[in-house]
């Protein structure tokens, strides 16, 4: 088997060995952090150290960090927990992840905030649409399909101007961009561990002091009575370790990934015609989205997979079938273009050689897929 190129870090990024080592060691610790006896105290100490470490990583206070099962649950807690008497509406951008956008299925008290052709929130429209009924404004930090970086601080200001809370899904930002919760002006922030090399199964919602969310579940009252259930201590330890490692590497990695991304984009544009780059300049260095006009995204993926390249459409599947990207549709792309777009995403293990392998395979794959369409 020849070497593969894993260009799907935004789906899940492989765990570095040092993170795995810390995770495994913590896994060996018995004890429930809510217990008063010694095992409980040991577990609690590990958990709180992880919480403090993560708080430093995101510029928050430790008591503002609520562990969840992942980014999806963090988003759900924020969206479902924010509406309160007198404020029943939530406003979300048109390009949110399904774990935010899905709130539309829970009722009609949801306003969709439009984005422009590059995927940027139209802040003037936001100001128009929200008001005294708005409980929450939710705008993602980095879009999971295109990597576009949203003006979350501006959105937070506008939300506060009408007395609403501001939330951001920072799942794709954390680990790649500097996140400073205190400076952001946000009230709520969602995080996930496995997008930055931590374990799958843990995330966090950062909740500014003084913000009272309504819990969506009930139980033992762990995690500030907001998210009941025994906290998986080892996963929290792994999460914190991954975040620390990402922070150490961040400045260097940002530069390196930006170069890899440029290598891929320039190479594709030089080799393949009728390609549109859907990621604007102001985007995460770890994500790029390309439309290969006239080719079914699924067919390009099939051919890339067979040639050892792992990529993705980045959008949701229904019964294993990719649906045209809602994100690209919201950006005004045609149904055909939205179904012809791929996401390539990078992380610490991505090398220039992996990009070169992808560039060697892509022209033929796209040509074949175009012939098959």
């Amino acid at each position: 088997m020849t070497a593969r190129s894993y260009l799907d870090h935004a789906a899940s990024s492989p765990m570095p060995a040092e993170v795995l080592a810390e995770l495994v060691e913590a896994m060996g610790q018995a004890g429930n952090p809510s217990s008063l006896h010694q095992s409980g105290r040991t577990a609690r100490r590990l958990l709180e150290e992880a919480r403090e470490s993560l708080a430093v990583s995101v510029g928050a206070r430790p008591d503002e960090l609520v562990f969840t099962s992942g980014g999806t649950e963090a988003n759900n807690l924020a969206l479902l927990g924010a509406p309160r008497p007198g404020r029943s509406q939530v406003a979300i951008s048109a390009i949110e992840h399904p774990s935010v956008a899905g709130v539309r299925e829970r009722g009609d008290q949801v306003q969709l905030l439009p984005v422009d052709a590059d995927g940027f929130l139209v802040t003037a429209e936001l100001a128009e649409l929200i008001g005294a009924q708005t409980a929450l404004v939710s705008v993602m930090w980095v879009n999971n399909e295109t990597g576009v970086i949203e003006p979350v601080a501006k959105a937070a200001d506008l939300a506060h101007a009408v007395g609403a809370w501001a939330h951001s899904d920072a799942v794709q930002a954390f680990g790649h961009l500097v996140i400073d919760f205190a400076a952001s002006g946000l009230d709520l922030l969602s995080l996930s561990a496995h997008k930055l090399g931590g374990p799958v199964g843990i995330g966090a919602l950062v909740v500014r002091r003084g913000i009272q969310l309504r819990p969506s579940g009930f139980g033992g009252g762990q995690e500030a009575k907001l998210r009941s259930g025994t906290v998986p201590v080892a996963l929290a330890v792994g999460f914190a370790a991954a975040a620390r490692l990402a922070a150490v590497r961040q400045a260097e990695e940002q530069q390196r990934l930006a170069e890899l991304k440029q290598q891929l984009v320039a190479g594709v544009l030089a080799r393949i015609d009728q390609v549109r780059v859907n990621s604007p300049a102001l985007a995460s260095p770890a994500i790029v989205n390309l439309t290969f006009a006239g080719a079914r995204a699924d067919d390009v993926l099939l051919l890339l997979d067979a040639a050892g390249i792992d990529a993705s459409t980045g959008s949701a599947c229904t019964a294993g079938m990719h649906q045209p990207s809602e994100v690209l549709l919201a950006m005004g792309r045609s149904l055909a273009d939205a179904g012809s777009s791929l996401r390539f995403s990078f992380g610490p293990s991505t090398s220039a050689a992996e990009i070169e392998r992808a560039l060697a395979v892509l022209p033929t794959a796209v040509a074949k897929a175009r012939a098959a369409a």
């Binding site: 699924d298 067919d299 051919l303 019964a319 294993g320 079938m321 012939a371 098959a372």
Partner: protein, 358 residues
């Protein structure tokens, strides 16, 4: 070979795929999503294109360690199979949608897409055999006559068959196949067979057609054109049908009556005795050939329904149609069905039944 294995989620296609993987081929599994709204087709084990079936197919592909994709052919299926099915009933004929799907979707649209993507062949779990000793492959009935599905493949052409693989042609029994599936760790080993038309999982074809064609009350007449009953849509009937007529006037001879014909223009259903269903000759249009087109007249066997018997006949090409003269008269052959003709166990070709004569 690079083979695209069509995986329905059932046990047959799972074992067919497993055999190809074991033989060393580079196999990719593909499940065809044929419904625009998969939930509608969902029916436990009975449909062939539900979400549960897609999941079963994916699980089998994962066990085999091969790539797996779901291809959306719902629009093509709606246009080429479902719309045709409804239009054929509206025209007073009785179509076979499985055959149509093979002809237009599985071994046409899917095969073309696969070939364009670099695959050499499409494989399915159909029970039929391909003999490749000659340059053009020959299509034969399956080794086990009770499971034989060569009839629904009879419309395939030489060009299509050249890119087909049917790994289950030699299977001796379904029991054997299920045992093999279990041995290979395929969890679909005990999954019941599907029997219904996949896009009518309830089995209520009349209801399905009523929804699309509407109910239109008309007369049931006898061969003397006397009204003997009423119907709520001629499309609910098939030539040769005996049950569900609810006739108000009893037959003069007291014998059972059968549907003899449908008239979409007059909206009448004609009924009569079994003797009036006698068919000695069949006219088949749009003939297709599994190898080279035949000319003149020859002796062969003709099958007119999926599990029908093979009837000895003299077959002739007249203009661009087939004229089939049966040795022994047959009963209740419905226009719209396919006449698939054989040389012994070898499939020679097929044609759509346009007319029958006594």
């Amino acid at each position: 070979m690079r083979i695209l294995a069509a995986m329905s989620g059932g046990v047959d296609s799972a074992v067919a795929t497993a055999r190809l993987v074991e033989a060393g081929h580079d196999v990719t599994g593909v499940h065809l999503a044929l419904s625009r709204n998969p939930e509608l087709y969902r029916s436990g084990s009975r449909g062939c294109c539900s979400i549960a079936d897609a999941n079963d197919a994916r699980r089998a592909a994962d066990v085999l360690g091969i790539p797996f994709y779901v291809w959306d052919f719902s629009e093509r299926f709606a246009a080429d199979v479902v719309a045709d099915f409804v239009a054929e009933y509206a025209a007073g004929r009785t179509p076979n949608p499985c055959l149509r799907c093979n002809e237009k979707i599985k071994f046409a649209a899917v095969l073309e897409r696969g070939v364009a993507l670099g695959f050499d062949a499409v494989a399915t779990g159909h029970y039929a055999r391909l003999d490749r000793t000659d340059e053009d492959p020959s299509l034969y009935r399956a080794a086990e006559p009770a499971k034989d599905q060569s009839y629904v493949l009879g419309v395939l052409t030489a060009a299509q068959l050249a890119r087909c693989e049917f790994p289950l042609g030699e299977v001796q029994s379904k029991t054997e196949l299920r045992a093999e599936a279990a041995e290979r760790g395929l969890l679909v080993a005990d999954k019941p067979d599907s029997h219904d038309i996949c896009f009518i999982p309830t089995g209520d074809t009349a209801g399905f057609l009523n929804d699309r064609l509407g109910e239109r009350v008309g007369d049931i007449v006898n061969e003397a054109d006397e009204v003997v009953g009423a119907h709520r849509g001629y499309h609910q009937f098939t030539v040769g049908q005996r049950h569900g007529l609810h006739l108000s006037v009893p037959a003069g001879d007291g014998r059972p009556r059968y549907v003899l014909g449908l008239d979409p223009v007059a909206n009448t259903v004609t009924v009569g005795p079994k003797s009036s269903l006698v068919v000695r000759t069949i006219t088949g249009i749009r003939p297709t050939w599994t190898e080279r087109p035949q000319t003149g007249s020859w002796r062969g066997l003709v099958q007119v329904r999926a599990h029908g018997e093979a009837m000895p006949a003299t077959i002739s090409v007249v203009a661009d149609q087939l004229e089939i003269a049966l040795d022994e008269p047959a009963f209740g052959i419905a226009p719209g069905q396919a006449a698939v003709h054989y040389d012994g166990d070898r499939v020679v070709g097929a044609a759509t039944i346009a007319a029958t004569n006594s």
